[in-house]
């Protein structure tokens, strides 16, 4: 029953000028300069299984959310935990550490729809994540992780250059986070081998190989492409705002209008 109006449904996908398709830049750049503010092309990352990309061009690209992405090679423990999480349906968010504004861990915190900013010094590469002020320190002056590290939300990262690629090794992640937005679990054994490469002047590639024998029977990778955003810096983003209308009082007019960092 139509109430005197016109039903207008647009089928198919509309593409907008804002699709952010990258075009390879021919500008000269320093391949070992990762600094700048970078924005992911889309939410989530692209799963790569057995060398075959499971994501790009297919929809959805990757596990930005539940029910998305190809099935991962999980152990029985991980499969049970994953299935139990999916069964919660709309109540999933109650089990998500994000619900309490905890850090999202690695590699998930690299996949949020807000930018990251990379600062470099001789000793470290620092990745500032706009998502709730998380920062990652990738120490370049260490060849081994310290012994007896306590597990943390974001782990401990050390890196070294292999040609034009920054190879980052991350351990000491406790198991309270998910790998991604879909709810894929991991254990404290999680070990990430990450390769960060500036592909051209405007493009950064981050590919993380997941090594977690407690949760996954085979290694697999998650890849994400970022685009340089000249003039941008990470802004304030306070997760706790998300959970309470009362907290909006902290904004002068009840709205967030940027903190000047753009």
């Amino acid at each position: 029953m139509v109430l005197g109006g016109i039903a207008l449904f647009v089928c198919g996908r509309i593409t907008y000028a804002q699709d952010n398709k990258p075009t390879a830049s021919t500008k000269p750049f320093d391949t070992r300069d990762l600094s700048g503010t970078w924005m992911g092309l889309r939410f989530g990352g692209n799963i790569i299984l057995d060398g075959q990309q499971g994501g790009p061009g297919q929809k959805p690209a990757a596990p930005a959310g539940p029910g998305q992405g190809p099935p991962l090679p999980m152990t029985a423990w991980a499969q049970a935990k994953f299935d139990a999480y999916q069964k919660l349906g709309d109540d999933r968010y109650k089990m998500d550490p994000r619900r309490d504004c905890f850090p999202l861990g690695m590699p998930r915190d690299m996949y949020e729809p807000v930018p990251l900013e990379i600062l470099q010094s001789p000793d470290q590469v620092v990745i500032l994540l706009e998502n709730d002020h998380i920062n990652r320190h990738i120490f370049l002056n260490m060849t081994e992780h310290p012994k007896d590290l306590s597990p943390t939300w974001m782990g401990h990262s050390i890196g070294h250059w292999e040609g034009d690629t920054l190879v980052v090794d991350t351990v000491a992640l406790h198991g309270e986070t998910f790998l991604d937005g879909a709810g894929h679990p991991h254990t404290g054994q999680l070990h990430l081998i990450e390769r960060i490469k500036r592909v051209d002047a405007n493009t950064l590639d981050d590919t993380v190989t997941v090594d977690d024998p407690g949760a996954y029977t085979k290694q697999f990778s998650i890849q994400k492409t970022y685009q340089l955003k000249p003039g941008w810096h990470v802004m304030e983003y306070v997760c706790e705002d998300e959970w309470s209308d009362k907290l909006k009082k902290y904004y002068p007019d009840g709205y967030f209008n940027g903190d000047g960092a753009k």
Partner: protein, 149 residues
């Protein structure tokens, strides 16, 4: 107008809705007619976005903004349309974080209550309610507010 600098024709170029052909009409479906009676639309402080149909885009023509929330984690736009018989439909759209939109020129004042709309397009709520995940928004002036993905 604060957004006068946006390139209207370029951004509207790919829309299948030519400005000249469109008058203020209301997009109504059988399901929406029923759902429109509900004044309060269930909202989750944060959710995975899985409740939106991401295969198709629904476009609602016309309307007036009644409320606009420019806060994290998602902006929220509330607007009303009125059909030929004067029946009011209430709509709600969720967008991305204001942090991102701010960089594309949005601010808290771009959709003040009373702002006239030409069209709003998005991924409709799977349950058929008058709600969507925002994909495109055009003001009655013809200016389009960029919606980055």
């Amino acid at each position: 107008m604060v957004l006068g600098r946006w390139k209207q024709s370029k951004l509207l170029g790919k829309s299948i809705l030519g400005r000249s052909k469109v008058k203020s009409k209301i997009a109504v479906s059988a399901l929406a007619a029923v759902a429109a009676l509900a004044l309060s639309i269930p909202m989750f402080a944060h959710h995975g976005g899985s409740e939106f149909d991401d295969k198709e885009v629904t476009t609602v023509m016309g309307g007036t903004v009644t409320r606009f929330e420019f806060v994290n984690p998602h902006i929220e736009i509330f607007w009303e349309t009125k059909d030929d018989k004067g029946v009011v439909q209430k709509w709600w759209a969720e967008g991305t974080t204001p942090n991102l939109l701010y960089r594309y020129g949005w601010n808290k004042d771009v959709l003040k209550p009373g702002t006239q709309l030409q069209s709003v397009g998005g991924n409709r709520c799977k349950n058929g309610d008058n709600c969507m995940r925002l994909r495109k928004i055009v003001l009655a002036t013809g200016e389009e507010l960029p919606v980055p993905r």
